[in-house]
Assembly symmetry: C2
Homo-oligomer: 143 residues x 2
């Protein structure tokens, strides 16, 4: 009942990308150093994010990774889903699984409500929200 390390890595990666001007490339090496993420593993994670359409990559000198869409269009739920697939807190909430009890099972319904409550929180915050707050804090500290 926990997100995986890789998902954490993905979140922190996207946060790093959100901290630079939109469109600017960062190398996975830089991200891995700043965030303490195993470098080779991070490249794998970035590929998944790219496949999910959250980042774009560019090879070669001066290459790197950038956000595919502005940070205010990416929520925490998007990131989790990109790495782990559709979120389901119980097996019967995942696609193409059918428990015989599903039609009447009250537990199933409670799980669905619980999951929706969680998702609604995770969907309510975008990358921009997360880094905006940081910027405000910095500017307050400088006053």
């Amino acid at each position: 009942m926990q997100i995986t390390r890789q998902t954490e890595y993905a979140i922190r990666t996207l946060l790093e990308l959100s901290r630079v001007p939109f469109g600017k490339l960062l190398q996975t090496r830089v991200i891995s150093e700043r965030q303490g993420i195993p470098e080779v593993f991070l490249t794998k994670t970035v590929q998944v994010l790219a496949l999910a359409g959250l980042v774009q990559t560019q090879r070669g000198t001066q290459g790197g990774v950038k956000l595919a869409v502005p940070g205010d269009q990416i929520t925490l739920a998007d990131i989790i889903t990109a790495i782990e697939g559709t979120l389901a807190i119980n097996i019967c909430l995942a696609e193409n699984y059918s428990c015989p009890n599903m039609a009447t099972c009250k537990v199933h319904q409670v799980f669905r409500r619980a999951q929706e409550a969680m998702l609604s929180e995770l969907n309510s915050v975008t990358l921009s929200d997360l880094v905006e707050t940081e910027k405000m804090q910095v500017s307050l500290e400088n006053e």
Copy 2:
């Protein structure tokens, strides 16, 4: 990001126990048959539930398993916690883990809110609620 099979087994086991009069013993064998749970594995699960104080076991002839407290005092969250330990959707929400960013990390805070939203749903329903509904359905069908 899913509860384990064992947790599902635990829920279904406690539901079975809630369906009989409070204090009545059921054998793990009976429960495993009714719910299609591997029998030997179920005994392990029952032991965990007993350790958590949700059920009481009795050995010997006419022995079995029963609820340790009435069904209206056991929520879904209790059961999940009993099997999986304190629920934490991210590593930094678990006890005795400290990420360097924890103090200021906005993501951490969002995760906490998301988790609380989920927990509040899972805590809002007791075993009694779940089987009461069943009984009402049965009586409606008999009308």
